[in-house]
Symmetry: C2
């Protein structure tokens, strides 16, 4: 009966990632927490100490990417867990009812033809890895949990990627966003 696809992002005082900063970008802020753990299961708050939040999400099929775009993404992307990736950023995002009422062609147009979400991200692929997680159909407070990993030497490139995306037409439909900056705990 349990949803075996669920991934839980837990902000508490436990976990392999140290929370360096949480910044509210838009909408209601999220609570503070000192550590992040990512678990491939549905968890309950009682299992953790000082829980700030638990965000649940799944990895799903791609929704906008075309075959030619995916070929480029697969060629240049390196995947998560590279040895030099000591930084991560978790960005929970909620989009407006207007966004979700749009048809597929209307959303695709804003996402790529207007905002160049994929094309603009391409140059960053060799050193910033990304995994999108979907939350909306789980009834969660955010629609997406986006996860980025990179080396601390590329932190400025990451900042530039974020600021470019946030100036795009797509971001006019973002109603709530926070940014959680993380450092991998070396044991």
């Amino acid at each position: 009966m349990a949803n075996h696809k669920i991934i839980s992002f837990v902000g508490s005082d436990q976990g392999a990632w140290d929370i360096a900063a949480i910044e509210r970008i838009s909408g209601n802020p999220i609570n503070m927490a000192s550590r992040l753990s990512i678990l491939k299961q549905n968890v309950s708050p009682g299992e953790f100490g000082n829980v700030g939040w638990i965000f649940k999400a799944v990895i799903s099929n791609i929704r906008y990417t075309t075959r030619s775009e995916k070929t480029e993404l697969d060629r240049d992307g390196r995947g998560l867990n590279q040895p030099e990736f000591d930084c991560a950023v978790m960005i929970p995002i909620k989009k407006s009812d207007t966004w979700w009422a749009m048809t597929q062609d209307e959303r695709r147009k804003v996402f790529e033809e207007d905002s160049r979400h994929i094309a603009m991200s391409m140059p960053y692929l060799p050193f910033i890895s990304r995994q999108l997680h979907h939350s909306r159909d789980l009834g969660e407070e955010f629609d997406f949990i986006t996860w980025f990993e990179f080396s601390s030497v590329h932190v400025h490139a990451f900042d530039k990627l974020c600021s470019t995306l946030r100036r795009s037409k797509e971001w006019e439909f973002v109603t709530r966003e926070s940014e959680v900056r993380l450092r991998r705990i070396v044991v």
Copy 2:
């Protein structure tokens, strides 16, 4: 913490719909049950007698439809719960890994340009209403629960709609499908 979007389709000995027949179309069959109830919440089997299955799903945003198609669908569609709709059919469907690994443009091409899923369904809209429910991201055994309602005088039209869809290219990606024929219980 609960997913407030969940709709539960429960096959048991309770509910407002009488199960007239269950037919396996492809893949593993589903259990028999005598009645169907649809509840807008997450339920557990202990709440029902003689449970054959509980399928969970959510109503989500549209994935393939364009604005011009939606305008036509909205103009001709009548919605569920019309007074003359004494028949319903629930069709749980699972698609192959190949389908889900396809990019958005590839899936759209099979769905509409090759299979005419929307265009072919259009003539039936004035007398057959339909609601799609998504299950895949909930980790369910089926990917979709499709629900149709119509008057018993249009049962042959419904059969024709199904057989046309099942001969389409899109259906080459369907790995499991059952058809549950229902009659509304008049009290």
